[in-house]
């Protein structure tokens, strides 16, 4: 595919309660495989997707959180977390599975404005 666009995936939902986080990740991997310029944004409860220490054995749903750590291997390195969302949930960068860039809501808005395609799940 010759046309490269800036894709941003906006994740605003917690994992496991609904399937959105997992199926969003599946699109992210495919989009990266199509050599697009991929960014991930985590806002609101989406921040919980990146929480360390997820253990899903007791709910019999596959723990897909290791996939976030594998994103680097797909050249997906632009992960942004909104500061206000993290603060509101009592989380810090140390609680997260992967290195992220923390942005204020204003910076997040500016970054969204720069995208060609914004997909939100």
């Amino acid at each position: 595919m010759s046309d490269i666009k800036k894709f941003m995936f906006v994740n605003r939902k917690a994992p496991y309660g609904t399937i959105y986080a997992l199926e969003s990740l599946e699109v992210v991997l495919i989009t990266a495989a199509f050599d697009q310029d991929v960014s991930l944004a985590f806002l609101d409860d989406g921040v919980f997707q990146l929480k360390k220490g997820q253990q899903t054995k007791g709910i019999e749903i596959k723990n897909f959180s290791p996939t976030y750590r594998a994103l680097e291997g797909y050249d997906v390195e632009k992960l942004y977390v909104m500061k206000e969302s993290m603060d509101a949930r009592g989380l810090t960068e140390d609680d997260l599975l992967v290195p992220v860039t923390v942005l204020s809501s204003t910076e997040m808005g500016a970054l969204m404005d720069e995208q060609d395609v914004v997909l939100s799940f």
Binding site: M1, K5, E23, I30, Q36, D116, L119, S120, F121
Partner: protein, 119 residues
């Protein structure tokens, strides 16, 4: 302009399939092209041939098929999401096709605007 549309929720349960359809119809009426509608998450249920709403209700599945036929809209159902939810070629409604997530990426790269409807 060339539009791509993403539908993430099933018919009847959530208004998103109705909103997406009415948006597509309005875009076409204004002379735009709706190039592809991509059905993801529970949105894949929009393609079930087994759908039988009461007579006095809108038929969401057939309505998509008619739009596709009349205006050459590519109705693509995500294979991974479809298999999870029991949608296969044998119960796929006319006018739809099952394909991979790459078709969603393409709906982003090959259109001018991608508009998402969901919950």
């Amino acid at each position: 302009m060339k539009f791509g549309i993403v539908v993430n929720e099933g018919p009847y349960q959530h208004q998103s399939a109705d909103s997406a359809y009415l948006f597509a119809k309005a875009a076409i009426a204004k002379g735009h092209e709706v190039w592809r509608v991509f059905f993801y998450h529970d949105g894949v249920n929009n393609s079930s041939a087994l759908t039988e709403p009461p007579q006095d209700d809108r038929h969401i599945v057939n309505r998509w098929a008619k739009l596709a036929e009349e205006h050459n809209v590519d109705l693509v159902v995500c294979v991974a999401a479809a298999l999870r939810r029991g949608i296969k070629d044998e119960n796929l409604a006319k006018g739809f096709r099952i394909s991979g997530l790459g078709q969603l990426v393409e709906a982003g790269t090959k259109t001018d605007r991608l508009v998402t409807f969901g919950d």
